[in-house]
Amino acid sequence: MLRTIIVCPANWGTHAANCRAFRGNFLCLRNDGSGGRRGWSSLPRTSKSRFSYPEGMVAHEDDYLDEAQYPEIDEETHQFSKYQKDKHQTMLSWHQTIRDQPNPEAKTLEINMPRGYGYRCSILNEERFEYASESVYKFLTRSHLIENELPDVYSSPELIKEAKHYAEKLREPILEALNFESNHQSRSYDGDLEQTTKSIDLKRSQSIVTQINRVILSVLGGEVDHLSNCQVDLSPKIEAFWLMGGQQPTNRMRESRLKLQKSKFRKCKKNEYDPIETPFQYKGSPLLQLRCENPVNNFVDANSPHCTLPPNTPLVFPYQLSNYGIGQVKYNFASLVPGTWASDNHRCSHIAFHPRHHLLDEAVQSSEYWVADRENSLASQAILTSFGRLLAQALYFGFDQFTELNYPFSSQTIITDGLKWTFSAYQLNTIRLAALHLHKNPRQNICWKMNSMNIFEDAELKTINMTTLETILKFYLNKPKQIAVENPTPYLKSPLSTWDDETRKEIVFHNYRDMVSQRWYVVNYRRRMYPEVYEWENIYKIRHQQRFFEPRRRFFELPLDFPGRYPYDKPYGLIDPHFVGKRMKFLMNELDANKEKERIEEAKRTQSSVYEVEDDPKEKRRK
């Protein structure tokens, strides 16, 4: 006869007593009238009905209403198991902690807390844009491209009038500057055989753009308000990080999902082709950036039809991004930097000049189709750079990826090598692109882009094309407008420099600095390098188990629940900047003791009975 082993609460009694209750059949009745199975709780019941309140609780009339009020059922989450609900809750509370941080430095620190070694990001830069890859960049940034058109602002009569007025003034100086740069001047890269056409073009563009900007600002800076009070950056660092959902799973992931589906004991809730979320890090550097205190006026109202995603657009990108040359995965801490640090007042980018040296890449030049496709490469560049810059700018206003923007941001981009100019404008309406929010997000961003124009009208490079010059000036003269919202930074409280909490301030500053510079060393030892699996271990321990006689001490050989088994999930360990180790403390104490001795001996030698009391060396060091 089978004995059933009953699991019961610890306070209920001995195992023998439990077994006594179940002697015989299962349907025994207990003294208080409840069924045997339900009689585990030790609370006495006052009434015989099953649904009665425990002792001491009284029902109030306000608890009852005529109509039943059911809580909302979220379609996705109400079918979750407890494990999935907990996971979902931790994610939401993580989003909330990011929202609660008072300044952008603390926010980036919080975004990086789940990963001690950094995220495995795909790095996006401006070095090369693959053939026919503009659809990828449009998907990754949720942008809609409007070709060969600029927003209506640039055809307003006042702006045109102003631009024509200044274009006449600036025609001669700009012609001079361009001639100076294009004519043969001896440069540092002349005769240097290691320089390629691409790198030479980059350096040339840098010098031409700085000269043109100098000429324009020398005239406009005195007369226009927002340009007299603007800041100019030369090759600033612009970095943006975002988590993007809707990506195809890798082959390995698909195979493991199929295996799980066939296994008897573990359930796989995911289908083979369910999309995944991957982090992206944009690292770029424009030739020149102009920053003002107020942002560029939004080109289009937030409720207009262009700003909403058209129906039936696919929310999953159908192919893996390695097909388009975007696969380089690197351990990288999330950094969002729009060219300045957060304490700067001028935090709105007005114009940014970008180089077009990627068109001179060897691979691009070797294929005539790719060369003919240059307008699409420039479009992808315009989309990527504008989005990255505005995303980082949004963080400095307190809006992170998990908290939607309250109002749109806009910016202007010019892609040029000095002779050919491509103008584009971008409006950022949404940054909610993580897997949780992607399918609920109805908005999209917009990019306007004109085809490339020459600055010279003729082949002899003597007369300037006035339309190009006027468009450049329109971009400069486009007046920025103060944000028309009561509280433009609802999620920012106190900047880092004036933060009350002194200890947290120092910790945040030092750790933020380490993260953004991607430091893999701390003091003298490597702390941030991902633990390496050697190639021989890959072959003789992982793929083919040939070293079964060796003790399992490496991290990938540990049992599944042991700490350290999954270093990727290890959270970030904050470093206290004032921490001094035991050995160091001991040495410092020794030094102080030696100094004391020396002073005493010197005093004895000079036979002075009283020696001057100096500052305690320990306190001196702390200052």
């Binding site: 053939y131 026919a132 893996q320 040359g325 691979a363 070797s366 294929s367 189709y369 003789y540």
Partner: protein
């Protein structure tokens, strides 16, 4: 033979021509599903990007928009019936992107219907014979080369 050592080009030399090259290209099904204008080849290890482009253009009149080449290392495996690890040879893969409007789909070489018909016939016998052989080998592991009397 294009995989020989031939003289380094110096400025002023005539165009070097190679006759009867031993370059080859093998089309394979893409391991990672890509857009319809993408084709994947395994090529001779000595071919460069320009060699692949010229091969396709001159012999098959197929113009390629862009090519990416990667050398992949061969798989490791345990030597059959031995306890050491051996490795297959490394191979070079060329990922060719055709111009935007062209489409190419890798054909389905083993459709399901044909498989069933063939198995009904002689293939089944063959399968049974190989199974028996494997069973025999498993039972007599280590003395397969030995004459029949000992087995």
């Amino acid at each position: 033979m294009s995989s020989r050592w031939y003289p380094i080009y110096q400025k002023g030399n005539p165009q070097l021509r190679v006759f009867l090259p031993n370059f080859w290209m093998k089309m394979v099904k893409p391991r990672v599903a890509g857009p319809p204008n993408k084709v994947e080849f395994i090529v001779h290890n000595g071919m460069s990007r320009m060699d692949v482009v010229n091969y396709l253009e001159k012999i098959y009149n197929v113009r390629a928009a862009s090519i990416r080449i990667s050398i992949n290392s061969g798989k490791t495996k345990l030597a059959p019936r031995k306890q050491y690890v051996i490795k297959e040879d490394d191979f070079k893969v060329a990922y060719v992107t055709l111009p935007k409007d062209t489409k190419f789909e890798f054909p389905d070489l083993f459709p399901a219907e044909k498989k069933d018909k063939e198995i009904e016939g002689e293939q089944r016998q063959l399968e049974e014979m190989t199974k028996q052989k494997q069973q025999f080998e498993r039972g007599n592991h280590g003395r397969i080369n030995v004459p029949g009397w000992f087995v």
